[in-house]
Amino acid sequence: MSLAAGVGLRAPHHEAWRSSRPPVGWLEAHAENYFPQGGAQPAILERLRADYPLSLHGVGLALGSVEPLDLQHVARLRRMIERYQPMLVSEHLCWGRVDGSHLNDLLPLPYTEEALRHVASRVGELQERLGRRVLVENLSTYLRFADSTLEEWEFLAALAARSGCGLLLDVNNVYVSACNHGFDARRFIAALPATAVGEIHLAGHDVESIDGREIRVDTHGSAVCDEVWSLYGFALGHVGPVPTLVEWDTDVPELEVLVAEAARADAVACTARAAVA
């Protein structure tokens, strides 16, 4: 029987995907990794798309950048959407482009009215150009801005309300940021509009010590930690059942390990449903 939870499709597993069809519920691909229009990437995505529901997850649009949207990038995303007909399309609440050059990282925004107006209008423009609703994901962050007047969860809720976008709730990112900035992760999740949350991400992270202070860093390089599993159960209680994805991007283990994590996500969801019933 197939699992409900999905896993991130990553290049180190392409070989395994060529010869097997593990019982995961769905797949999510980083859109930019499959931008090439020839060779192995589109070929494998095409084949897997025939066997699994697919989500396209953008990492390169840098939606919150002040300079105009990269329309060439949007056009390529649109072509991918037309070709692969994904069930979900998502991006991040971040910026990364300045003066035409790209830092190719997910950089945090100040939570101000100015930034909110800007991102809401960008997300609106993106949804219009793609002709569909987009989910916007919360980041792991390592700093906060002195000017912020809103909490991150207030910013996300207002963004969803103003732009009509959905939210991709990354539970690991909530936990990482909560630890780094000292807020209550459950308060964050409980404050999100439940009906806007269209997907949940789970992943592992690292703990670093900088000048004797513990900082959690979003590496996607290990198993989901116990605290995040528990927070996931809490999140399901708030938003109800939504597609859940397990991501692993560095020190990528065998595909079976990801499948086992997806099975654990299903087990947590099962317990959460029982608690509600």
Binding site: G38, G100, H102, L143, F145, G182, R186
Partner: protein, 280 residues
């Protein structure tokens, strides 16, 4: 769950009139791109909260991530250059390269394109001048891997039916993934010896003066394949790929090697799928 550490929840008392978003992003990006010894931007640091760890240290974490992401991609695209130069040299060269050639896209597939030219400028007058040609070969390989699939394939039967007197004016359409590389150094041998980690210890010593090498890179199945070729075949393929008529390309090849066997070369090119069509 409440995690320990960090500042409180209240944003009360935070200054309200801060940097406009555009200026904040410009300063933030400049700080992430700055060299190690750059002076900190006090205005930017003033816009960030310390929360128990100086803002400069927090910024440094982002700077390290940004550098690490780029270097990881560059190392994936140029594994032989990294092994030839060593990890420490590659890191420094990579960071200098990225300052000169910042990424222009949210898609990282293109960032390595100017790397061979950068190495040529940096090392052209040194004993490591050949790095630039090895890098050009590695980039050609990357392009070959992701180039678009062709719209159609060459019709061998149709080609065979062309009357001999008409063959000279034929122009061939190169497969989008075809890449042709020539060098005065043995780049193929060097690349082949350094592109993968070796289980049996150090790569062999290669005599740089043993003569130049040429290579054909092509789509094979869904992947790529590289093979050596002789200079006349390279010149012939380059002429055809540039759109020159078959007869002119043949003359180019003959100028390299009077005994160039064009019938054999064409049969081989068709067998390898180097062309996806032709027109009169």
């Amino acid at each position: 769950m409440h995690c320990a550490g960090g500042g409180g929840l209240s944003m009360a008392g935070a200054p309200t009139a801060g940097l406009p978003l555009a200026e904040l992003q410009r300063r933030f990006a400049a700080a992430l791109r700055a060299p190690d010894d750059a002076a900190p931007d006090a205005t930017l640091l003033g816009a960030l909260r310390d929360d128990g760890l100086p803002a400069a240290r927090r910024l440094e974490l982002y700077r390290r991530n940004v550098q690490g992401n780029f270097l990881k991609v560059l190392a994936l695209e140029f594994p032989a250059i990294e092994r030839l130069g060593g990890a420490a040299w590659f890191r420094q060269a990579g960071l200098d390269f990225l300052r000169e050639h910042p990424s222009r896209s949210g898609d990282l597939h293109g960032i390595g394109a100017p790397f061979a030219g950068f190495l040529q400028r940096r090392l052209g007058a040194t004993p490591h001048a050949y790095f630039a040609d090895v890098a050009a070969l590695e980039w050609a390989w990357q392009e070959c891997l992701v180039a678009p699939d062709p719209d159609g394939s060459l019709d061998v039967g149709e080609l065979a039916s062309v009357a001999p007197r008409d063959v000279g004016v034929l122009r061939f359409v190169p497969h989008p993934a075809l890449r042709l590389v020539g060098s005065r150094w043995p780049v193929f041998t060097i690349w082949d010896a350094h592109r993968e980690p070796r289980a049996d210890g150090d790569p062999p010593t290669i005599d740089l003066d043993r003569g130049g090498e040429c290579a054909i890179l092509r789509r094979s199945g869904e992947g790529a394949e590289a093979r050596r070729c002789d200079p006349s075949t390279l010149a012939w393929l380059q002429a055809l790929a540039a759109g020159q008529p078959f007869g002119d390309a043949w003359e180019v090849a003959i100028s390299h090697d009077a005994g160039f066997d064009v019938a054999r070369a064409l049969a081989e090119a068709v067998r390898l799928g180097l062309f996806c069509g032709f027109r009169a």
